[in-house]
Symmetry: C2
Subunit: 357 residues, 2 copies
């Protein structure tokens, strides 16, 4: 709890003066003001996050948190729980989706076992930080205790701080956990005051039968656990997941380190919702990457006030959408750094209609 | 006309067997089938375009066509016509928006004067292929003759063929031309049977007064010229633009060369609409990059049946959105090439629920 408290205390707002200076330069670049849209917003946000008026993207890491879910007993997923564990070697060995896209982005993949079912994942490269071997079945009991939730959040904080210490300038969030759309939907329902029907999507390969079980499980989980939406950690502990808690820590830790954090899809955004409930200021450090094909994702992003850049109908998780977003953040910074202003370029100024030379 | 005819004759459909083989591999990769959404569709389309079951992205070029518009006499733009000419050095010297983003993407920038007002643009690096020094004022006369339209289209075909000859494996379209949202809107109205009001957006920095003039100019242009929507070249010549004609040629030439062409925003998509009217098969070679902040762009993309990947509120043109899309096409190809199948990875198969090892 000490690390979490310290982290929360060190999260501050963006650097307004760096943003103002960046905005002024952006408005004077060789283009109509605002015509590069979100690229300009990213550049300005990066200035505010880093405090540099000419921010750049350097080292990149994607932190993939893996955890299992007791609720799979209720038949909410068509994939067997073992897949969570079995995917970790593929992440490390470089041929999973996130491995390929992280390699393209030039990002390091950090794989953390924060709550995979069974014993430790014995695989070189997997960071072993298991808080417990999977959550409880949320239709009967809380996912975890409040202490376990804090512990998992602190794993995320430690992971992101280690990455920043080794030179990461931008962090992407990723998840692996069979069944984890169910707790993510429950989190959305708890904070957004939605019904189970409104927040339940098809997840991965879900058919009508599984869909009905999933909706019922979410409704029951909320009824049984009565998560308190005024208390982020309570919701996380009662209906969340260990990887979701880990990612909550990654987001809080990134904000405390003044490093931007690119949010992936439905699971990562659920962690974003929890992080924002715990410390609203951390929202300013978040960058939404893509709009997932999972139906509740749109509601979550709206709840957070984030606008996704990529509309690719992706729904794999692992951080695949988030690492694709790294190129866009880099593009925004390059616009700010490498484009000339009208004055620098000696071109007629569009706005003031004057010839500068 | 001979080059255009020859080009149209050599445009064929996609390679179905390469697509089928790519699709099969995509379905067997270490992920639920379809869960990488548009990345998978891009990989499949790339297989169909190139005929290779494991396509890759190699050399990249963005072709920026520049031309002026007689209709600016009507006060449809707040920027003076001279800006078109003045931006070309910035493109070449590397500090315009397209220069920066093309550099990030590793793409060559090809700048073509196909119709800039005044004499030749005397600037090393600018390809001088002026068909005429700007179009006629479309509220009073056709933009150009049918012969001039064909000539400008053929400039585009020659440009793209030269790039492909030098190793380009993917082409992006870009435009520069003060006032060119006006003819682009007129093209949309002509093909989509829309009113001037429905297709007129604010373009760059347009205020209410200019907006009214622009809407009126588009209505008059359609009334005076009576473009025949059954005849793509007729619409292009009567209410189009020289850079739009050049880009129409780029798209047709790319399709004839079996090379994918990433379409930028409103102006480039207008060229796409014309190209599709001339040769519908060329649509299969198009990849939509972003959804422009220009309001009519959505209608154009729907008309073509294309789905934009990036929602960035960009409206600069120059090819800035299209070159950002190159990274996504590359990502799709990498997924197909670098991810392992379940069999290759010896992981439990999600679909068949069996352990392969």
């Amino acid at each position: 709890m000490e690390l979490l408290d310290k982290t929360l205390q060190s999260i501050a707002g963006l650097n307004e003066s760096a943003m103002k200076e960046a905005r002024e330069r952006l408005d004077n670049l060789l283009k109509p003001p605002g015509s590069l849209g979100v690229l300009e917003e990213l550049a300005e946000q990066m200035a505010g996050i880093t405090g540099h008026t000419r921010p750049t993207v350097g080292g990149k890491s994607v932190i993939v948190m893996a955890g299992d879910h007791g609720v799979v007993e209720e038949g909410v997923s068509v994939a067997p729980q073992e897949i969570t564990r079995q995917m970790l070697p593929a992440f490390i060995r470089g041929f999973a989706g996130i491995s390929v896209l992280a390699r393209q982005a030039g990002a390091k993949v950090v794989v953390v076992d924060v709550g995979v079912a069974g014993g430790p994942v014995d695989m070189p490269g997997v960071v072993s930080r298991k808080v417990r071997p999977g959550t409880g079945n949320i239709t009967r009991e809380p996912a975890m205790t409040r202490e376990e939730a804090v512990q998992a959040v602190e794993v995320g904080i430690e992971m992101v701080m280690a990455e920043v210490g080794q030179g990461a300038t931008i962090i992407a969030t990723g998840d692996m956990g069979i069944g984890n759309t169910t707790p993510s939907s429950a989190i959305l329902a708890a904070f957004g005051n939605y019904s189970a029907e409104e927040v339940t999507g098809r997840g991965t390969l879900v058919n009508d039968d599984v869909m009905a079980k999933k909706t019922a499980a979410i409704a029951t989980a909320l009824q049984i656990n009565k998560p308190d939406s005024a208390d982020g950690l309570d919701v996380l502990a009662k209906v969340g997941g260990l990887e979701i808690a880990g990612l909550t820590g990654v987001i809080l830790g990134a904000a405390a380190s003044r490093v931007p954090v690119i949010i992936d899809g439905f699971i990562s955004t659920a962690a974003g919702v929890v992080a924002a409930a715990i410390k609203p200021e951390c929202k300013e450090y978040m960058i939404a990457s893509h709009l997932s094909a999972e139906s509740g994702h749109k509601l979550m992003l709206e709840y957070l006030g984030l606008k996704p850049m990529l509309h690719m109908d992706m729904r794999l998780g692992e951080g695949t959408g988030a690492v694709l977003g790294m190129n866009l953040v880099d593009a925004g910074c390059r616009i700010l750094n490498e484009m000339a202003t009208f004055a620098e370029a000696n071109v007629m100024d569009l706005e003031e209609d004057r010839i500068l030379k």
